[in-house]
């Protein structure tokens, strides 16, 4: 559905006439004005034939409503639809207009020379760029033959199908990919942890990964710590909420080593040394506890801080420790409080329910409300256990002790921050109470010990009583309820997917233990490996090492760009595939190494929907124009592959494959691939999938695709009075609000926000409570290099747009402190080589006094092909083998392998490097600078 130009002109002419009537003199002026041809030429430039609604289905989570203007059959330009309302009270700014430089560039980018227009088959060496154009028929036939061959000989798990964020955040697109994987049993690498984005620390503490309200919630905060995040660059459509909040009296504090564009406009900037953030967090915890700025009532009820812990072994006091008269009452996972009123131990409400010890059921039937209990936060008591008298204390008492080890004075050297400055921020944060917010980026997940930082972030928000309140708590990202997508993926087949933690998959297949030995030494390599092997033996985590890689299908997934230890991954894992298939709209390094490339439709050439938690709207992608060349959307590409698989399997009479997935056996009859994929022909195209998802997803207003396309955006939430996702009716998760306001147990072992983890490994590594562990460094390499999402690209997308590249330096650059540069005789604009024991890469030095001495900062996403020798930053990031032992712990309530919740992140930050001059730049420095 599109608005015709005729309609538009009619509307504006009417508006104009009405206004002319109000301003009669203006009309007279216009009639007497001299005719100027040049003005008509300009006016004619702003005309179009029709308008469609769309957006850019990429993983920026922006989901901005665009009018897509079509002129002469091509997309001419786009402009924000900008018809957003607000969330919450009338003082809260609305969501308009959204958008960013990438989105506004897409009309041009989609016609760029990087587009893949036809199916192609490699004729040269891999990565050489020599191709033969082939037909869709030939392409799908060759793919299908190999697919069947590998599936029959080695099992379908030897085929990997990675769906990247270029495609996978569009709901129909993702559903199609998920359905294909579910039917065929191919291995789906889980990239949330694979790219180092999985907030395991939040999960360990709250049982949830999706902590986040709408972006408008920022406006409601009184103090917001922008931590491990750079929203001025990475959340362009929403960044305004921070500065509007600042004008509204909110203290905006950005915590980052470099003077980010976010730090620029903040009230305060804490210029912390990279990787020492937990030291700051715990120093703030110290201040809040020492100065009694915490909300005692909140932590008594919502957290495990009043829970009793045995001093002898550091474990929680459990029912099985006690000499209970009625042995029937002994249940697993019963925890205790010291009741100040009755002066005895009492069972913590909501723990030890016989039928529902953990998880959803307990959540539904139990409560954490304290009733008459008045739990002590501190104290020491003697308890009679089966094995004698034992002294117990509280988690809070242990935390006070732990905090003392992290006083601002003690953490000053670590963080490089003045203790007074840390105290000032801690007090401002605590003073904000329920409206104390931490706006957390995904960077924490990219540090080896980022999980501990995230645990301390939640702790800070618990101490102030903020979590669960509007304007408070940790804000990272909520996620849409997946019911629509999963019911589509599993319909008629059941859940039969094989989803693997891609960090572990890479560890097993990329010889990462060897890498650890080389970079971090044998001791660390052995320690990490022995814990991982132990975890596999105990069945805490599944074993992915049995079958090697044989065939890889990369759907909008540019793994050869971003994999840490990129070269190693490329040679040890990627290049060993017997067949590489790429489904992509645009060329890039992963596609470049493929054997067969299939052209995929771009954002304005397809039908789909987007649902992201930053604002309360569902967004349509309508087909503004037909796909370029022979491109099709991914549903159709996979339909063609499915058809070829079915046909060839029938020709060969391929017997059904017996396939064991996590102990359950499935029969994979490849002959039926097409009929299963299309639900016997019921699903004809992406529009049908969208309709399925609309109907099956809670919170999306039920309407037809055509209605949605006509509107562009439709509001999804029922409650408009809050900036928080607090309704069960919404398509996003409201669990936190439910726990805080309705006293539902959290889905953690203790049913509380759990800050104490008494798993033996956590005790062994001194991580039962949050603790500061310094980042890893390499001897002989003094510089810490960090990275972040770019202003001029979303991951690798748009990173190669010719205009956006011209708004940078024409090639990849890295930010360097002028003193570090001078010490190495490097000037602005010179090419430098950044290196360490893992490898090296060359890029342009960009000098800036906003960079902390001793650090380097680079925006990510640049394709390896844009670097000399095709080595990008991944060449110096040797972290792919860093599987943190506690991250593969299991058999402990909520801890153990859970897809999209608990799995080791691929980390990217714990390394150091050095740089030297590569060659002199040709651009002379600017003449005398003012100031």
């Amino acid at each position: 559905m599109s608005v015709s130009r005729r309609q538009f002109l009619t509307h504006s002419a009417l508006a104009g006439a009405a206004l002319a009537l109000q301003h009669g003199d203006a009309l007279a002026d216009a009639l007497t004005r001299p005719y100027r041809r040049i003005e008509d030429i300009w006016r004619k430039k702003w005309t179009w034939d029709r308008v469609a609604h769309g957006t850019h289905g990429t993983n920026c989570a922006g989901t901005c409503a665009f009018n897509v203007y079509i002129r002469n059959g091509v997309v001419w330009r786009e402009e924000q639809q900008a018809e957003y309302e607000r969330s919450g009270t009338p003082d809260v700014p609305d969501y308009g207009p959204r958008g960013c430089n990438k989105g506004l560039r897409h009309a041009r980018y989609m016609y760029g020379k990087q587009r893949v227009l036809y199916p192609m088959k490699r004729v040269g060496k891999r990565g050489e760029g020599k191709w033969q154009r082939i037909s869709w028929d030939q392409a799908t036939r060759e793919i299908a033959e190999k697919f069947i061959d590998v599936a029959v000989k080695h099992g379908p798990d030897s085929i990997t199908l990675g769906s990247g964020t270029q495609l996978a955040v569009k709901m129909a697109s993702y559903s199609a990919l998920a359905r294909f994987s579910n039917i065929t049993g191919v291995t789906v690498p889980e990239f949330y942890s694979g790219v180092g984005d999985l907030p395991t620390g939040f999960y360990m503490t709250t049982g949830l990964t999706y902590l986040g309200d709408t972006m408008a919630a920022v406006f409601k905060s009184k103090c917001v710590l922008v931590w491990m995040a750079n929203p001025a660059v990475t959340r362009i459509p929403d960044a305004h909420f921070f500065w509007e909040a600042k004008y509204n009296g909110t203290e905006v504090v950005t915590i980052s080593p470099e003077f980010t564009p976010t730090a620029m406009h903040s009230s305060k900037w804490l210029n912390i040394k990279p990787g020492t953030d937990t030291a700051l967090a715990m120093a703030m915890v110290h201040t809040i506890i020492e100065e009694k700025l915490y909300d005692a009532a909140y932590i008594r009820e919502q957290t495990d801080l009043p829970f009793l812990v045995r001093e002898d072994n550091g474990e929680f006091l459990r029912a099985e420790d006690l000499n209970l008269v009625d042995m029937l009452a002994v249940r697993e996972n019963v925890f205790y409080l010291w009741d100040q009123k009755t002066r005895r131990i009492v069972r913590a409400p909501g723990t030890g329910a016989a039928e529902a010890p953990v998880g959803r059921r307990r959540r539904k039937f139990e409560t954490i409300a304290l009733g008459n209990i008045e739990p002590a936060l501190e104290g020491r008591w003697t308890v009679e256990t089966r094995t004698g008298k034992v002294t117990v204390t509280t988690v809070f008492a242990l935390l006070r002790k732990r905090a003392t080890e992290h006083s601002p004075e003690k953490m000053s050297t670590e963080t490089g921050l003045n203790p007074k400055a840390m105290r000032t921020v801690a007090r401002e944060f605590a003073k904000a109470g329920q409206r104390a917010m931490i706006y957390a980026g995904f960077s924490a997940c990219k540090w080896l010990h980022g999980d501990i930082l995230q645990r301390s972030m939640v702790l800070l928000c618990a101490l102030t009583g903020a979590t669960g309140h509007e304007g408070g708590g940790v804000q990272m990202a909520n996620g849409p309820k997946s019911r629509g997508i999963t019911s589509f993926a599993f319909a008629g087949v059941g859940a039969a997917s094989r989803v693997v933690a891609s960090t572990l998959w890479d560890y097993d297949h990329g010889k990462m233990k060897q890498l650890n030995e080389k970079i971090y030494g044998k001791k660390l390599a052995d320690e990490f490996d022995s814990h991982y092997q132990h975890s596999l033996k105990e069945d805490w985590f599944p074993q992915y090492g049995k079958n090697g890689w044989k065939m890889g299908i990369f759907a909008g997934e540019n793994g050869a760009n971003w994999r840490a230890s990129g070269n190693r991954w490329r040679t040890e894992a990627f290049e060993k595939l017997e067949m590489i298939v790429a489904l992509v709209p645009d060329a890039g390094i992963t596609m470049h190494h493929a054997d067969i490339v299939l052209p995929i439709a771009h954002h304005y050439e397809r039908a789909d929907i987007m649902l992201q938690s930053r604002h309360p709207y569902v967004q349509v992608l309508d087909t503004a124009v037909k796909p370029l060349g022979e491109a099709v959307d991914d549903f159709e590409a996979l339909r063609r592959i499915s058809a070829a698989i079915s046909t060839i399997a029938r020709e060969k009479a391929t017997p059904a494959i017996k396939d064991d997935v996590d102990g359950r056996t499935f029969r994979r009859d490849l002959k039926r691939t097409l009929e299963l994929y299309t639900m016997d022909g019921a699903i004809r195209d992406s529009r049908d999938i969208v309709q399925f998802i609309i109907n099956a997803t809670p919170g999306i207003p039920k309407m037809s695709f055509a209605e949605l396309a006509a509107k562009g955006i439709v509001r999804v939430d029922e409650s408009r009075d809050s900036t928080v996702w607090n309704s069960d009716e919404s398509p996003f998760h409201a669990d936190i609000a439910e726990s805080v306001h309705e006293k539902r147990p959290y889905e953690t072992l203790t049913g509380r926000q759990q800050f104490y983890i008494d798993h033996e490994w956590f005790l062994k590594f001194d991580e039962a409570l949050p603790v500061y562990h310094p980042p890893l460094k390499q001897k002989g390499y003094p510089l810490q290099m960090t990275m972040g999402h770019a202003r001029h690209g979303i991951h690798s997308m748009w990173r190669d747009d010719s205009f956006l590249v011209s708004l940078q330096r024409g090639e990849p650059d890295i930010y360097v402190n002028p003193d570090d540069a001078a010490a190495r005789k490097v000037r602005d604009g010179d090419l430098i080589e950044v290196f360490n024991d893992a490898g090296g890469f060359v890029c342009m030095a960009h000098l800036s006094a906003g960079i902390m001495p001793g650090t380097l900062y680079m925006y990510h996403g640049w394709d390896p092909t844009m670097f000399r020798g095709r080595q990008n930053f991944a060449a110096v990031i040797p972290t792919a083998g860093l599987v943190k032992p506690t991250s593969v712990a299991g058999d402990y309530g909520h801890l153990g392998y859970r897809v999209l919740a608990y799995a080791p992140n691929q980390t990217y930050r714990d390394f150091t490097c050095e740089f030297k001059l590569y060659s002199r730049g040709k651009v002379t420095a600017a003449k005398a600078r003012i100031a």
């Binding site: 508006a15 104009g16 402009e79 560039r105 009230s267 010719s802 000399r868 600078r929």
Partner: protein, 328 residues
Amino acid sequence: MGRQISMVMDLNKCIGCQSCTVACKTLWTSGEGMENILFNNVETKPGPGYPKNWEQVNGGFRNGQLQMPPLIDAKDYGGEKPLNFDEVYFEGKSDRLQQKGEMGYGANWDEDTSSGTYPNNYHFYLPRLCNHCTNPACLKACPTQAIYKREEDGIVVLDEDKCQGFRKCNQACPYKKVYFNFVTKKSTKCIFCFPRIEQGVAPACARQCPGRLRFVGFLDDENGPIHKLVYQWKVALPLHPEYGTEPNVFYVPPMLAASFDENGDFAENPRIPMSYLRYLFGEKVDEALITLLNEMERRKEGKKSELMDLLIAADWKQLFGIPIVKYA
């Protein structure tokens, strides 16, 4: 004298995202010979800007006298160049994806190049377009009367039918906001999106700004945000008023995060040296900043502040006060 349309940009909200630059480019300047032409650009300040070192050229008026400095060299513009996609990705002829030809310089070459010394360094973003001056140097300088100021809204338009390519306007404009198209051999400049203004639609750079920092309206509209910010609260100032062209684009000066004392504790001193802000916006910047800080303080104490409400602009459409449509 007719009415004057005007813009106020709040530099405390500008995140340098270049959405305005891209929006303008796609709408108006993607034709041949326009690779270097950005009616709107955003530059990091302090810094040489776009074109390079434009502030050191000294155009405009001095003691009422029109100045005609030499032209800025084409290499100090740089510009968009295609990338060698075909060679790398489809023909196997080249190893590295790069621009065809040396970029040299560019509109955003010094993006986030911070000045001063860490951690008391400073920089911010300055979006720039034609100031649609009340006393336009370009208009004065044109030997063929190709530049005129529209009676109905004060927009300065360059009539390319009349332009003979003498480039006098390029020389005279102290802001270097009149460009030259080497293909058509004509000068060209920002038109403040008058075709949109005529339809009651804000200019692309303003309506498409996700930062919500551009106010648009008539300068004499006492109920509009422009009049209030410029005349009533006096927090919006012209850029380089000493150039003498009387700009009609105004800026709310930047404040930036608190600075540090020698021990790394928070300090009271402004992060940007006042000398630099006075250099950009004149002496009145002191008063503007004091007003801003006082009103922010009031709001922090929970008191009302009309200025803060204006700058917050909770309803996005409040940014645009263009109720007068002369004709449609």
